[in-house]
Point group: C2
Chain length 372, copies 2
Amino acid sequence: MDLIIDKEELIRGLSRVQGIVERRTTNMALAHVLLSADGDTLRLTATDTMVSLVADYVARIERPGEISVDAQNLFQVARQLPESTVHLKTEAGNRLAIVSGKSEFHLVGMSGEDYPPLPSRDDEAALAIPGTTLHRLIIETLYAVCVDDSRYGLNGAHLEAITAENGEARLRMVTTDGSRLSYSETAYSGEFNMGRQMLLPRKALDEIRKLCDGDKGDWAVAFGERSATFQTTGLTMMVRLVDGQFPDYRQVLPQSHKCRLILARTAFVDALKRVSIVASDRNHSVRFSFEADQLVLSAQNVDLGNAREEIEARLEGEAFETGFNIAYFLDIMRQTTSDELVLEMDKALDPCVLRIPGRDDCQFVVMPIRLD
Amino acid sequence: MDLIIDKEELIRGLSRVQGIVERRTTNMALAHVLLSADGDTLRLTATDTMVSLVADYVARIERPGEISVDAQNLFQVARQLPESTVHLKTEAGNRLAIVSGKSEFHLVGMSGEDYPPLPSRDDEAALAIPGTTLHRLIIETLYAVCVDDSRYGLNGAHLEAITAENGEARLRMVTTDGSRLSYSETAYSGEFNMGRQMLLPRKALDEIRKLCDGDKGDWAVAFGERSATFQTTGLTMMVRLVDGQFPDYRQVLPQSHKCRLILARTAFVDALKRVSIVASDRNHSVRFSFEADQLVLSAQNVDLGNAREEIEARLEGEAFETGFNIAYFLDIMRQTTSDELVLEMDKALDPCVLRIPGRDDCQFVVMPIRLD
């Protein structure tokens, strides 16, 4: 292999594989990125065997070939190189020479033949959605994926095709960790061909989120027997799906509410942040008093003291009190934007639905907690 | 105590005490800040018994008094408050009420009487230097203080009054950890009244550095039997000095050099950063080849590979090779500015002096290491 590539192009490619490669493993190859040069393309491949990324970058190939090297080391070197172009060349003993101006590196690598084979694809027809929309679906749901990987059925995002109230065919992404739930939807074109129910694992969602951020172009999403493929021009991500029966989440979605509170987002967020200083116990528990013209938050802590916040609000229904883990509300606030918010609840210990006015394509549900 | 204070003034005061208070202690009072209101001043006091800070802030005092509360908690609350003014008031049971707009906190505190007494001052006449100069002395030396507190005589900065070659009376701050040494000097007015040799501990230097950054006003520095006081308008820092015989560092300062290399700072720094990727062993050892028109850096690592960098330079004297821990050079680069640098050495295993052209008031010495 012998090629010249633009430094920024190389850095862009290497930055994308940093989250895929697996450093905490005895299999050194999984910490490597495979460089394959052919035609006018340098292809970078990375895999942790569960999530695999293959992406192509423009390069002037003098001699085709391949080699794998530690992805983090190569990235560190590339970012520091002095000139705007980089010369990459394989050398005897599976070394990769990196030359730029008066800088010269020779990194220890492995033969491309020793790089682990990627999972084979068996996916069917795909559906298409813009990258920016895929990004929205992920950020509006990812935070609620259960962090405990042993929680069967909760450790990933559930995908399904639904028909919205207006008759539109939509893709819905749903996540829950048992104490909260969120879903986000979008219209799509093409076919939703997912066979049996499987989950998209957290790491894959996180990497796709980075790749599609700000990308207005279409992404094709296709499902196979145990895998999914996310694809856009020059870039393919293959994901091994997680087995697991996602819970019957519709049972949790309230069908009615006796109480509805409308309030300004900024005032709510600021008050949550302040009261969280005192609500620092394990549950971050805060009392919510829904009153006629305000929401009152109050928290106490034996060691620290107590806090009380009043937020202007408009209540439809009768006043009542309940408790929440406010970390859950802060998580939702970080991932959404809007001027106003709506909280809907039936009784003090029923699930609370947080809606964004004007949007019927997402919903955030938080379970209350019993206060002493 | 009952007072109204500008929120930004309160935040400024509380941010300054965060580095002083000691959280990892069983003595809860050392994590507290003492608030004392009198006249038109809110005085904030913090101490870890070694370093103490007393500073005054403008406030409208309705009723004098004092209370101490956890400094970190009060800071967190203050930063989040909604309005530009804050009402602070002591309540029954040693609580501090903090009210701002519709936010209300009641923090658990301690009676001001239970706050530990500050060390009494016994210092003599002071010397005066501008805050910005004090800041320069500290940043040009602090990085070389030995981080091992058990290394008697090296775990702080040494101060002495010297006479410069041009006859000027100067204050010199010197630090070393045995492998490198740095000093930085300034002219001063007043008296250098330090009695027996003692060292300024690292934590105190770090806090003074933050306080005097950008402050063009004069700071008074006075020494007592076992302590030093750093003082400027409305702010006094008292420091317990560290016992310890600073080594006879003049023995280490080379009196002559056979070789002198002049090079551009940016090129040197960039090359150091690149080669440090490969020089990742315990010593960060890199070969320096001083050649007629260039400095060549080279490093190797069995696991990673090797690197070579050429930097344009002008050599006076004969070419030779030696080795260095380049982390030491990178440390110096982070704390200094200049377009060019001068390296002076006698023989391959003699100390290397790094000078900044045009400045006779600082010197950075790095010991070479033996390469295999």
